[in-house]
Symmetry: C2
Subunit: 490 residues, 2 copies
Amino acid sequence: MIDITGVLEPYAKTPTGEKISLHKQLVERLQRAILSGRLPSGVVLSSSRTLASELGISRNTVVLAYEHLAAEGYVIADQQGTRVAKLNLQSEVLNSDIETKEKPFTLANRWETFSDVSSQSLPTAALLAPGLPSLTDFPLALWRRSLERAVKQLYRHSLASKDPLGEQSLRKAIAVHLQISRGVQCDAEQVVITEGAQQALELCVKLMTNPDDTIWIEDPCYNGAKSVLDIETFKIIPIPVDKEGISVPHDLWLTNVPKLVFTSPAHQYPTGSVLSVSRRLELLDQARKAGSWIIEDDYDGDFRHLGSPIASMQGLINNSPVIYIGSFSKTMYPTLRIGFMVLPKQIMNQAAPVLSKLLRSSNQIQQTALADFMTSGEFGRHLGRMRRIYRERQKVLKTALVQHFKQNWILGGSAGMHLTLKLPVSIDDKYIARKAQELGINVHALSTFYSKAQSNHSGLVIGYGNTHKDKIPEAVDILSKLIKFKEYKF
Amino acid sequence: MIDITGVLEPYAKTPTGEKISLHKQLVERLQRAILSGRLPSGVVLSSSRTLASELGISRNTVVLAYEHLAAEGYVIADQQGTRVAKLNLQSEVLNSDIETKEKPFTLANRWETFSDVSSQSLPTAALLAPGLPSLTDFPLALWRRSLERAVKQLYRHSLASKDPLGEQSLRKAIAVHLQISRGVQCDAEQVVITEGAQQALELCVKLMTNPDDTIWIEDPCYNGAKSVLDIETFKIIPIPVDKEGISVPHDLWLTNVPKLVFTSPAHQYPTGSVLSVSRRLELLDQARKAGSWIIEDDYDGDFRHLGSPIASMQGLINNSPVIYIGSFSKTMYPTLRIGFMVLPKQIMNQAAPVLSKLLRSSNQIQQTALADFMTSGEFGRHLGRMRRIYRERQKVLKTALVQHFKQNWILGGSAGMHLTLKLPVSIDDKYIARKAQELGINVHALSTFYSKAQSNHSGLVIGYGNTHKDKIPEAVDILSKLIKFKEYKF
């Protein structure tokens, strides 16, 4: 038995000034002495009585510290007393402060081609950014009130159990909203709450597809859909989009039967096409015969500017082979990140247990608040207000564009929060978009939405959701100068 | 041009009594007439003036309805007037109310072996359920106050952008807590907020592993870890656990280098072993040499019952090859579903953009509230209160068990909210667990945590977190009767 007080480091103060118990301090000083080799393997520690009197602390503190060290394997307690255990201290592991240089960290292979394009931080100050709703017009005070009511509704029984498919009140509110405003045939049981439309897409893919399955996407296509598919091994077939929406070559149903077809029939992104009813019927018919599933991403469905909203494809026929997807990122605000999907009745039984495993639904309070916001009528009033604001902004944007560009260069406008400006192919739209961004104008290059097969496209996707109408003409003026300057060079 | 009023259905009332505009009603009546074939392809519709006067509505409403139908492709408007478009109505798609019987829905192959064991709805009323904290002792009123403060902190600028890795305030609060109470070496930048420990595990796997990589797990192992790995194609090697924790055969480092090693060193689940310091050093040393990563799931780390908490493996050496994972499901409540991981500094640069893509972090308000709860000191006080409650409950449970079973059948107890009762292998623990569940006692069968290679285990995992001490002895009494009854039969 040796006097070990000499090898213990002095008490150290914590940087934060937190109180640390005598017990914990003693344990840590002993651990450091052992790990540093100052108390070598086999050494018998002072008896608890001795150490306690030497350190001027209670014997019980020392006894507990020794017990703690024994539990962790630093010491072994037996008839001979408390001995330091045999530890592998000759290894460099304890002394090397250096990072292991030989084996640098590499991410999994699937991230090799990953580039951080879709940053989640949207540039709120930028002008003409697509995808952003008007943030200054969001009724924050009313929304806070719904949130406060939701906090009051957090009851003790909901601390341990909840429906993984989403808060019942929200599933019901969404079902009612979709039935009335989008003609979707569903009840609350078919509605699954997700973290944005993106997660809904991911879940469809996980739920339904096997590796090497064929998936059809629109060409051009919403980049979010592409990024879901990027990290898996599917056969992706881009299908061209024209004025009537996605245009499927008829023999493709024979040669390349898809497991999933991604579509945005109400307002195709970014072209703004509306899928015609004859193509809808054809798509539904073929999909049903082939056992394929259509994913209807109801992009901008709530912001129809011409007449009443176009009804969903999901509700066009009974028992349609359609999964309807939507989100509140544009009707409410992006960081809310609440979306949903409506699954066909016939697949709910099989899908529900799997979804219960995959979904976590950590945002009870936001979900309850959104249900409150919808059922109290605030959501409907908010949509009406925003529709008027967006119509006005779109009108101002169109007027400004027509002053600089040909009328038939302007696509879309029947719904949503963006217009697409087609440009001559000789103009490098990526260059224009980059230059515009440097000037605080965050339009997107149209060509980035197309597959490689369709490289003969140039244009700009111009959002008007979060840009005040007074700022639109000047921003368009700058865009036109950038484009014309570029044009002269060609 | 024909008079079309005769083929239109009468106005229908909506079941919900919602107001539907005349415009929308007219559009839908015309659509139904076309889809049903009552207005066949090629038919020229009444002029807008005629139809308006016949229906007694404004002409403008009819003009807009015709425009809407043209936009959707139901009609074609040209010099000859408005004609019904050619639609593929001979297909059965419109008339078939029947579900497609030939091609029944099947989930993706990866779900074939999936069984719905880990239901998210925890049986809050059940006795002795492992994994549940005391719900009646959760300070709900204080927590609501933190939530209310978080609602007030939802500012307009946070509607569109946030840090996908988690609210800065929470990342900071967790870093401080881990440094002080768990000896973790980290700063806020290394902390990533997840939806529970489960998502943190999933992210590690996604981030770091390639198909066919080798992964070591503990045997027995927490089922959540297994379920993360289930759906991928890894080489899973179960490593036996003894009283000193995971016991790696030395040559395994040569023959089967792991990409990841899943461990729960502070309190192994379900055996309750504490990983000894010599094994910790060995594991760290070998992992660093092999370029492997250790996942330290700090299961129950906050509820140490003997002495002060055992420090984390992550902080044992500098620049350790460890990803530290934790959750608030047990220290707060399960449906909060906030977890976190601490990534090594050297991998943050590469990992952050990928994580930004994978994380959605939809629970801003809960995250801000938790940061408030922690920095205000409420979390620390809550942990202290709960530790005292759990210690008392554990003592009562041990006392009750000892009356019926041998002392050395009882494993664990140094931390957490459960004890494990070993049983003779002749007893079918799954049968006992099933029978107990029928009687409202939700203990888990120990054998279900083991790999196939270790089928010679029987026992019960008994939680005391959410069972009042007065109810424990009677529940144990029932368990002992179930077990003894069974024993007699063998």
